[in-house]
């Protein structure tokens, strides 16, 4: 390691003030600090020791929590592919199809967004934001498996520039960066990200007889139009080529078409477990999103006038991207409510809104994305009320 350290030390003066590559100082710094934690010490006055945690480690913890979703996603992409073709395949074949589809998306997302980060580091002269470690992984996980790569690149670039760097970087942004990428694609290129795009099928592929690529949300919506019970529609879906594909347990485990990383509620819960154990994600937000969705679902059951409203509330928790959104998107500390009381309100409203959008807005079958983005915008307002209450308590104390 000494050789590497020496190389950095030798190169350093070129990047410091007056050096040849001074412009790229923060790029150099980022490279250096990803290899070696820096030798800076605490100031002479104040806390002489510091907690071992830093932002890089914090962000990597989130990435690690996403790995179960990624691995399952890779497998599921291949699995759904062969299921739709009606072919049996070995685990190796399934995984290789998954890898071929998923890895390029991950690489493109990291590369495109990362490049923008570096450009901004040079132009704006600020340190590289570690936040992109997480964003670069989140974006692929909320993409359909056959999304064109150029769209991934465009969406990543758009999200980093508009949702993050325009506000000053990680810590300053208002909207969740990865969701902005998803929303951008949704409105800019709706063809590739809605409808029956959730299973990877090469052009001209011949699907199995009776095949339909409809997601549970689309099935539920359709059932409602047709006036059949949603649960019944779920159980009859896939008959002949994928029996019970939309049974509750199957959807919980995630063996269904959908975004790469979000189909498995179980994997999301494993991620949630990691985030909560490590204290990196707010359990209050995760729990309250689920509670809000379940509560709203149960309430709609009571006043149901159509079949979607009558769908048992627990189904809301396993279909679509609710679990993934609750665990990985809603908990983004920068865009979520920042006060502890505010986190409850924020999470609950995300859950409630998700179900409302799902059930009442047929144009946007998946509600979690828009619900979180909307609540990102309202989070400062929630915090405002919590902070005002804190101030008021202080003032009232004075009056007594």
């Amino acid at each position: 390691m000494k050789f590497l350290r020496d190389t950095f030390d030798k190169a350093k003066h070129n990047f410091e003030k007056g050096g040849k590559y001074h412009k790229y100082f923060y790029v150099f710094e980022a490279l250096d600090t990803f290899h070696f934690s820096p030798n800076t010490v605490t100031p002479a006055k104040g806390a002489q020791i510091r907690d071992a945690v830093d932002l890089k480690r914090l962000m990597m913890t989130v990435v690690i929590a996403m790995i179960p979703c990624l691995l399952f996603g890779i497998w599921n992409v291949g699995y759904q592919h062969y299921l739709a073709l009606g072919q049996t395949a070995s685990a190796g074949e399934i995984i290789s199809v998954g890898l071929i589809q998923v890895l390029p998306i991950v690489i493109v997302a990291y590369a495109a967004g990362g490049l923008v980060e570096v450009v901004f580091v040079v132009i704006r002269k600020h340190p590289l934001n570690e936040g992109y470690l997480v964003t670069g992984m989140l974006i692929p996980l909320v993409m359909p498996p056959d999304i064109p790569l150029w769209q991934v690149a465009v969406a990543s670039i758009f999200a980093v520039v508009i949702a993050k760097e325009a506000f000053g970087g990680t810590g300053m942004n208002i909207l969740n960066v990865a969701l902005t990428a998803r929303a951008f694609l949704y409105f800019a290129y709706p063809l590739q990200i809605s409808g029956e795009v959730w299973t990877f099928l090469p052009a001209g592929a011949k699907t199995v007889e009776g095949y339909s690529g409809a997601t549970p949300l689309a099935v539920a919506s359709q059932a409602s139009t047709d006036g059949v019970s949603v649960v019944q529609a779920f159980s009859s879906f896939g008959q002949g080529w994928a029996d019970n594909i939309y049974s509750f347990s199957n959807m919980f485990f995630g063996f269904m078409p959908g975004c790469i990383g979000e189909t498995s509620t179980l994997m999301c819960l494993i991620g949630a477990f990691i985030l909560i154990i490590t204290g990196v994600g707010s359990w209050k937000i995760i729990l309250s999103v689920f509670a809000g969705a379940y509560g709203m679902g149960a309430f709609l059951n009571l006043i149901a006038v159509n079949e979607f409203m009558a769908m048992p509330a627990q189904y809301h928790l396993v279909i679509g991207g609710l679990a993934f959104g609750a665990v990985f998107m809603a908990t983004d500390p920068v865009t979520a409510a920042q006060t502890e009381a505010g986190k409850w309100v924020y999470g609950l409203l995300i859950g409630v809104l998700t179900v409302l959008i799902r059930v009442f807005n047929p144009a946007y079958p998946e509600g979690i994305m828009l619900a979180i983005l909307l609540m990102n915008v309202f989070a400062p307002l929630i915090d405002y009320f919590v902070v005002s209450a804190n101030k008021k308590r202080r003032l009232q104390r004075a009056a007594v």
Binding site: R5, F36, P38, N39, T40, D51, A52, E340, A398
Partner: protein, 454 residues
Amino acid sequence: MGKFIRLKKGFDINLAGKAAPTISNTEQPETFAIKPTDFQGIYMPKLMVKEGDSVKAGSPLFHDKKHENVLFTSPVSGEVVQIKRGEKRKLLEVVVLADKSIDYVQFDKYSVSDLTHLSREKALQQMLSSGVWVNLIQRPFGIVADPNEKPKSIFISAFDSSPLAPDYGFIFKGQEQFFQAGVDVLKKFTSGAVHVNVHSEREISSVFSQVKGVELNKFSGPHPSGCVGVQIHHLDPINKGDVVWTINPYGVIQIGKLFLNGVYDASKIITVAGSEVKNPQYYKTYSGASVKKYLTGNLKQDHIRVVSGNVLTGTSIGKEGYLGFYDHQVSVIPEGDYYEFLGWIKPTASKLSFQRAFGLLSFLTPKKEFVLDSNNRGEPRAFVQTGVFEQVTPMDILPTYLLKSIIAEDYDEMEALGIYEVIEEDLALCEFVDVSKHNVQSILREGIDLMLNS
């Protein structure tokens, strides 16, 4: 009478190198120094001595231009050997070379019964001119108390919950009568109560348990339960316009000695502790002692940081520095100016973390004593994480919002968010746990200075 307050939030930092309860018989240091920078709210110290002057214990060395009657006096008798100045001739240290035996300025002596009849004015005069006055700290803002103020109450934290802190029962042993006398004098300055706060799970020294005429409150919970600002918040919070005073038991005892013995007695027992000290133990010395003698031959290695005070709020003074006025401990930790390959992600059980992010394993060994160095453990970033400051701040205060209002220089917000209630030590743990490595305490002091000068 007193209250019992259970605090849950906070964090005890368990460091290696705790002091053994023995007092070393090392001989006294040659030099002692008083540092104007130890005192908050003192902007223009005016020197009253020059190099070569001889002084007695209790002779004035300098005063504040704003309050000319607040005198800062010499802890020992001897000769002023150095007046150290920094940039723009800022006064940094007044160094006194101590006599072998100490010669005291004589002040008025009182018997215990006389003290009850002593008038506030007379007491004030003697406290100001002897130098014991500056033990009194005024809240809001943690500045040296203004003699013209009438505080609504006075608070004494009778335990120190910070890392490697001295045991107050040990260092104030046998000072019962002086502590009582000090309390009796202090009661003349407030119409409210004098609060003495102890920790419910520690042994309570008779110095504090037997004192009369005070509210004896019990606290439980981890650091910062011993920070007097936290205690005030729960006992009698500071609102806009309120003034309260705080004082360390050492100051109370010093006041007691001033009136009972008629001298400014700056002797104190300190600890020299920390992982890099061979024999961490206690020493009997005087305020402002040079720490050199206590470290020579007593260090495990040379690449160290010597801190006057505790590792959360202290000041790095170097191996030949002087003990801070308000400090009772010297902490010696390894200097952390090294690179670490993949240090940002490598799992570690030897570095302490309040958090449990990937690879931070210290939470598995809550009883372990840690050797922590002065490495910054990462780079400064914008505020990202939320909710962690609140977990180490046992007060109804939102530290992140307060800090942001200070950075934005928004006076109304600072006031509304509670800047009157906190000083550096109360939020020191926030600085420790901060993933974005803000210098929380210096930001807070900037905010306080803004408020003071507005």
